[in-house]
Amino acid sequence: MSDLALPEKPAAASGRRPWLSLTGRFALALAATIIAVAVFGPWLTPHDPNAMDLTARLDGPSAAHWLGTDHLGRDILSRLFVGARVSLGSVAVTLSLILALGIGIGGAAGFLGGRTDQVIMRCADVFLTFPTLVLALFMVGMLGTGLVNVVIAIALSHWAWYARIVRGIVLSLKHRDFILASRLAGTGRLRIFWTHLLPATMSQLVVLATLDIGHIMLHVSGLSFLGLGIAAPTAEWGVMLNDARQFVWTEPHLMIWPGLALFISVMAFNLLGDAIRDRLDPHLRMEHAH
């Protein structure tokens, strides 16, 4: 730090600031690793995640089984790797479904306006009233258990947040002159939505979606833990937690590993979402620059 530092200096330095903060880059690296494990998991596993070896039940960490084995002698590390795939895969499908619903419904409400908007948003309000996990539990209760129903239930309990954001942005833009100009040039409504309105919602949706990855992951694992989602033999972190429950006093490490995997994944995606939000919000960016 020089005493002669001119007022311009910090601004000039901020120009070379990396796109993401240090925490953000750390979170990005962590999230990328988790995604890589999810994608390449089956080729990385040292053992078959479902191969039982009843002679090696509840072993501690060893050279053969780095994180030990569970109550059926299955390799925990392998099961964690494969579990990442199930968890992240279901999160990806759920998020796609939520985005499709949110953009479609919120866009229609904002763009069509009037009574359509009123009806849609009052429906959304109903969904916004309940805590998402309670709503998801209720829907699984109606739809029945299983991964597909869990995905549908979580998507149905989350779309309203996305719809509300999309609607708000569409409402704020739809009477702007450039939309009018576009209509006057003969562009159809769908095309206007696609080229002018949807891109404007993206920065907020990306932030919300990234922050929700961890949240949804906990929902999937939570419902699986309760025995409502993924069934027992499948390697999934919530299922592993549930399996380990009976040994929580004698073999606590069985619970620690899947718990830690969940914790690290959720944290990575939350930190990443925070960092992206800080980056994409122009007001916050201004504060950093000064």
């Binding site: 009477h175 006057l184 040039a185 080229t195």
Partner: protein, 266 residues
């Protein structure tokens, strides 16, 4: 294309005000020929812009078209058919009429796509229209965003977009109000040239009688949502029949006392 005729008849716009319906535009009739400039003048709030918006069915929320037809060469057309394909529009404020995050190229392609034009031949048409509108350095300008351009350039680009559509008619809603005098003059010159070379029929909405005298062939005067007087520009200036017209001309002359209405500056 030059012999086309656009006829608006019985155009009525209503709105709800304090629980009662109020008429903002009442039974407006206008006829616009190819190759002429019809100026629609009137004080602020007289319903000039509302008339244009109603003819193309892009009225602001809370108002609606309660009656009226738009005919092209004697055939009734819906607003959806007319927009873009038969009537191109230039808006008042060029700075807000472009999506701030999209380039000129993206806007040009959007305009052509709206007309159902395929990818082939687009570039040639874009270039021709832009050169016609006085934007010579086509490739450089196409790569620009709105914030990188001046108001005059943006207004030229808006004219170029209108030309790209090859629509026979042009609605220009206060096309020079937000521009400085030099650029105003350039845009008016441009419109006049396009009227002659392309045979455009231009409906010019304005409250600036200087612009009217400069550009218009005929004038329609609006007051409180009605057309109160229509006629050739010289007649309206020299022998205004309706009190509203007289007030508009007088107001102009009192602001620019040294200029005779026959040869006004812009």
């Amino acid at each position: 294309m030059t012999s086309r005729c656009l006829e608006i008849s019985g155009l009525t716009v209503r709105t709800m005000c304090d629980g009662r319906e109020r008429e903002l535009v009442s039974g407006v009739d206008l006829a616009l020929e190819g190759g002429e400039v019809l100026a629609l003048v009137g004080a602020s709030g007289s319903g000039k812009s509302m008339t244009c918006a109603a003819a193309l069915d892009v009225l602001p929320p809370g108002t609606w078209r309660a009656g009226g037809t738009v005919e092209l060469d004697g055939q009734v057309r819906t607003a959806r058919e007319v927009r873009g394909a038969y009537v191109a529009t230039i808006l008042q404020n060029p700075r807000s009429a472009f999506n701030p995050v999209r380039t000129m190229r993206s806007h040009a392609h959007e305009t052509l796509r709206a007309l159902g034009m395929g990818r082939s031949g687009r570039n040639a048409r874009v270039e021709a229209a832009m050169i016609d509108a006085g934007l010579e350095d086509v490739p450089r300008i196409l790569a620009l965003h709105p914030f990188e351009m001046s108001g005059g350039m943006l207004q030229r680009m808006m004219v170029a977009l209108a030309l790209m559509s090859e629509a026979p008619f042009l609605f220009a809603d206060e096309p020079t109000t937000d521009l400085d005098l030099i650029v105003q003059r350039e845009i008016l010159d441009l419109l006049e040239r396009l009227k002659k070379t392309r045979g455009l029929g231009i409906l010019l909405v304005t409250h600036d009688m200087g612009v009217v005298a400069r550009l218009a062939d005929r004038v329609a005067v609006m007051d409180a949502g009605r057309i109160v007087e229509t006629g050739p520009v010289m007649d309206v200036f020299h022998r205004p029949a309706h009190p509203t017209t007289r007030r508009l001309v007088d107001a102009h002359l009192s602001l620019y006392p040294t200029l005779s209405p026959a040869e006004p500056a812009t």
